[in-house]
Symmetry: C2
Subunit: 343 residues, 2 copies
């Protein structure tokens, strides 16, 4: 089998595109030098690229069906964080061999996610490389149904901090070598992104870990003035976010504070963390109910004072993120950066 037979057999579809915004006479999909589409309305367009390397972003043990789902899902998660509606994607495959049964399972997983989120395969590139580790590059394209994208940089003093779903399963599964559906088949929170787009002040998807990703929101929102504010996370609310699997797997072996600290470092969650004004609380709880998705108010953006804890700000401690016990079980605790470190 050569590259072209591979595309023809596993990635070229005939018939209508899955996204009706693309179904017009301009549509050119897989099989030309590039793909062509035109939107019926002149929406703002959103573009994101995520790469995944074997042994880094996924284990060599992952089954190809799950991998096909994951490479697209992690990109849809970025569209979700922008409040964008999926439109299409290009797929870059860096493989050391073309194995038909592997490709069949991979493409089935890929198209399952493609159909679910109406995100059309537009084209791509398949290359043979010299490494033992495969790699994938997906560029997803979406659009904003309105005037305003959900950015990282709009967080305001006094805003609430929210997180979707539960936290901690991926990092626990990696540490204890447990099987985790969330780790191999993450669910992008596309519907949530669409629902909160108009009123949330900032948003990010959790790929590196909450402690790291939330810092991106703070630094993007208060660039130059981040020494004036901090985010207080509520320990007792964070407890409610811990994944049931994490609690079961660690039962009796870690105390609650350790579990929360670990969940704060857990990457590959693909949940959304967002900030919103206090007066949006009722609306947000309603959205969570309608989507059948837990949304937890885990903290708030506070003004930094000269309280004792801030005296310890140093290289290890940027003073941006603190864990507070609402029941005074412990004094405020600084949350370290860590999270997934790329290099």
């Amino acid at each position: 089998m050569d590259e072209f037979q591979c595309i023809e057999k596993f990635f070229k579809k005939n018939g209508f595109p899955v996204n009706s915004l693309l179904s017009n006479r301009f549509f050119v999909g897989v099989g030309d030098d590039a793909s062509v589409f035109r939107l019926d309305k002149n929406f703002p367009i959103v573009v994101t690229t995520d790469m995944l390397a074997e042994g880094v972003h996924f284990s060599s043990e992952i089954d190809p069906f799950s991998l096909g789902k994951k490479v697209l899902a992690v990109n849809l998660s970025d569209l979700a964080a922008m409040g964008a509606c999926p439109l299409g994607f290009t797929l870059g495959l860096g493989l050391n061999t073309l194995n038909p049964s592997w490709l069949l399972a991979f493409s089935r997983g890929l198209f399952e996610v493609s159909r679910k989120y109406k995100c059309e395969l537009l084209g791509g590139d398949t290359i043979k490389h010299k490494s033992n580790y495969n790699f994938f590059s997906v560029t997803a394209i979406g659009y904003i149904e309105g005037e305003r994208a959900l950015r990282r940089n709009g967080m305001k003093l006094g805003d609430d901090i929210w997180v979707s779903g539960d936290l901690g399963e991926p990092i626990t599964a990696l540490q204890l070598q447990k099987e985790s559906k969330k780790l191999i088949q993450p669910l992008p929170k596309v519907d949530l992104g669409l629902k909160i787009r108009e009123f949330a002040t900032s948003s990010i998807d959790l790929s590196d870990g909450l402690s790291s990703d939330l810092r991106h929101l703070i630094l993007a929102s208060f660039s130059g003035n981040s020494d004036k504010i901090f985010v207080e996370l509520y320990f007792e609310e964070m407890l409610k976010c811990l994944s049931q699997n994490m609690l079961n797997w660690f039962a009796g072996k870690k105390d609650n504070l350790d579990l929360v600290m670990l969940a704060l470092q857990s990457g590959d969650e693909y949940e959304l963390c967002f900030s919103a004004p206090v007066d949006a609380r009722t609306k947000i709880r309603e959205i969570g109910k309608n989507l059948n998705l837990p949304l937890t108010l885990i903290g708030s953006v506070r003004k930094r004072s000269s309280e004792k804890n801030f005296n310890f700000v140093n290289n290890r401690n940027d003073g941006l993120l603190w864990l507070k016990s609402l029941t005074n079980t412990f004094d405020n605790i600084f949350v370290e950066k860590s999270g997934y470190v790329h290099f």
Copy 2:
């Protein structure tokens, strides 16, 4: 240096985008979960992805400045083949280390091509991988200033076959280990694509080699009926396309027929091969003159008869591509597929 410092230092720019179609209040560039733009007019949008792996698509010896130029140029070449105007791109970097001096030179090369073709860096992803070989993935986005993209599938019986520039330098440089500017810093034929968009019947950029890429045009245009036609290439016109460096490097060592056969297999040319009606000849020669770019009429699309040569059609010989001597120096010669084989 971590991933974020790398992006901040080498890839994030401040100020206006280089493409004025993007300079409006919707523009979000590098540094968020995704980039956002809106086009002032509702043009059809064109998307293409090309991956490059070290040791396969470029030598480990290549300097980072040239590599930065090449990763974007090969994608612009796909936009050129579609008759599209460049708009922006996302950049995927798969690196085993973040070396500041390497990144500086790479980003300088990249932005030189970005500015020249007004193709804005929109975002991307930087990952560390476990392989010894670096890899890159670029997705370029363009638009069609009109109603019609230049496809692979419109070639008609009787059309002329044209090729831009010269052929043969890359394959010769690889065989004889010579230095070739074309191999490391290819020039995408964006202006040519824009000029021929409205009247050319099909077009492709030469990445695998003319004998292979031209077959893609034939098969896309005459799917199911490709046994009714063939493309006749004119030996004496092909001679005019041979690169001067190829002629010098091989002087006295190969005869003209060998050189033409080799040039037909030469990948990494990033010239355009296109078909056009006979009555467009004057217009095409004028375009070449204006762009200061040689355009050579190398063949035509002919009806297949039961002439002797076609009796030999077999696995090795699909009968699609023949070399004819206009001066009867030799009988018609079948041109084999080969070209660059990916797997």
